[in-house]
Symmetry: C2
Subunit: 326 residues, 2 copies
């Protein structure tokens, strides 16, 4: 499946970097559009929305104004991409049934930089191993996005990114794509310690996402019921303990700050609850399974997280089994 | 609301004990029918099924043969009962919104024995305090029953009872009602330590009931998924630890025996899952909240049980809130 290598400097004759978005859901579509806005040549791959996007492009209805994004190439599969892109922006979910490395293989050229814009902790290793000679950036999006219809994305809050080289450090490629995002108005600090940032984001995600799915509650429902508010704190403490054992000391006030910020928010359905209600896959392993594997590796107890993972992973399995039975 | 006291020996002129079933669901209906079979004068109270039962009685479709039970008095409310019964058989669920003591008050005479045929641990105290001069028996049913239609009960497996005096000990009243059950073919050992028996039964219930609801899985689904099979064991261990701290040493092999027996069963939907799927109330506090309060009292950690309780009690609250919003 690997295409014949045509050096990317022959294809890219100008200064406009070429970018291929793989997994163009709400995240991939929104941030791909920002890069196009900043002058990059952005192409996209799609499953369900391919025909509509090829014909009509992507419409983004943003709190900052609505706009339209017409990708350079609209593809069903990465093998249809002409040449090799300077950057691949991965907006795929982190799911056991998706091998990101396999999917990217045909389109990763010798000087392609891979950017994972995905949730969870310890999600980079398989891609890093598959492409040991390529630069790998790891990024987090802090944003409220949803795909409201085929080819339509709604952007309701936040939007900033954090990017860094995997496993740590900085690089010209990181600086360059961060600069493109900044040009488009997206704050995108480059961090030397992206793994630490992933653990920091996980503090909120590992608590609110699974509890919201299992209880069908909003953030406000969860915090106004004493037993679940208490559980949120215990899970956050466990994440901090695991992160510490894994070598990432989180700021002491992080739990209190997360709780206070959530109290101030409007009642909010987590992205995992929205996925569950819509029958979409949930990133249970990236958010819960991976930190638990880290806990096991470092012999740290995390019984609350463990309970949420056990029940939620069984719920996911039940859903898959019933899909297969159809 | 208290009726004028007419000594029960005037009303009960013969040797056939009078029994009032309060909360005639599947449990109350089935065991009331057994007592009638053994010669007792059994009356029943109903909410939804009142009209149908008054006209047609209760039909029991049992693995041991089908039969029909025509109660002596069919009532909507205990105040309509003529006289005071020798026994009140309580088949009500243990729910926060139901005060069993208040409900029984009008019909408890000076020599009425109260029999709680209910699930959970530490469920007797409020009734014991409300009727300090009445004999209180506490009992557990090991049985698979369901109400298949108004006035219809299906009995598919098991059936035996365990009864004992609360808080412990034996009594002639316990012996007498146990003898009636035995006459009807229901094994009913009288135990001196009913609280211990409650903790023993809780080992299974506290693990399988909540996990089945949150994951929508059968017993087999739960045991064939490694993470949830592991969780079952952890919860069972926590129940044993709490019971021990509360003064009830459970047999060492109890967890292994429970797991093996469940493996041998056909895939089984727990009663709590059936309640959840049918939109009925779940006994979350009797099964999870009460053992957790015991854990707190004895300063024992039970983080897995705590997590299940937090999420499930929020799920219940969500359901109630949406009922109220209708």
């Amino acid at each position: 499946m690997k295409k014949e290598t045509t050096p990317s400097h022959i294809i890219q004759q100008n200064d406009r970097p070429s970018i291929l978005v793989v997994g163009t859901g709400a995240i991939g579509g929104y941030y791909g559009a920002q890069l196009a806005k900043a002058g990059a040549v952005v192409s996209t791959t799609h499953r369900a929305d391919f025909s509509i996007v090829r014909e009509h492009g992507i419409h983004i209805d943003s709190k900052n104004g609505s706009y339209h994004f017409k990708p350079a190439q609209v593809l069903q599969h990465v093998t249809e991409y002409e040449g090799f892109p300077d950057y691949i922006l991965v907006g795929l979910k982190v799911l056991e049934e998706i091998s990101t490395a396999e999917m990217l293989f045909p389109v990763v050229g010798p000087s392609t930089t891979i950017v994972l814009l995905q949730n969870g902790v310890e999600i980079e290793e398989s891609v890093a191993q598959a492409f040991p000679n390529n630069e790998l950036l790891s990024g987090l999006a802090f944003v409220c996005l949803s795909r409201t219809a085929p080819g339509h994305i709604s952007h309701t809050c936040y939007g900033h990114l954090t990017l860094g080289r995997f496993p740590h450090g900085n690089s010209p490629a990181a600086q360059k794509i961060a600069q493109l995002f900044e040009t488009a108005g997206i704050p995108c600090p480059v961090t030397e310690t992206i793994a630490l940032e992933r653990w920091k984001k996980l503090v909120w995600n590992a608590a609110f996402n699974p509890i919201s799915v299992l209880s069908q509650g909003t953030t406000q429902d969860i915090l106004s019921h004493p037993a679940s508010a208490y559980l949120v704190q215990r899970v956050m403490e466990e994440v901090c303990t695991i992160a510490e054992a894994a070598g990432y000391s989180l700021p002491e006030a992080i739990i209190q700050k997360n709780l206070e910020a959530t109290q101030r928010m409007k009642p909010y359905k987590t992205s995992m609850l929205l996925d569950y209600l819509a029958g979409r896959s949930m990133e249970v392993e990236a958010i819960l399974g991976n930190p638990l594997r880290a806990a096991k590796r470092h012999q740290v107890a995390a019984p609350h997280l463990e309970t949420l993972h056990a029940v939620l992973s069984l719920l996911v399995k039940q859903g898959k089994d019933s899909d297969e039975a159809r």
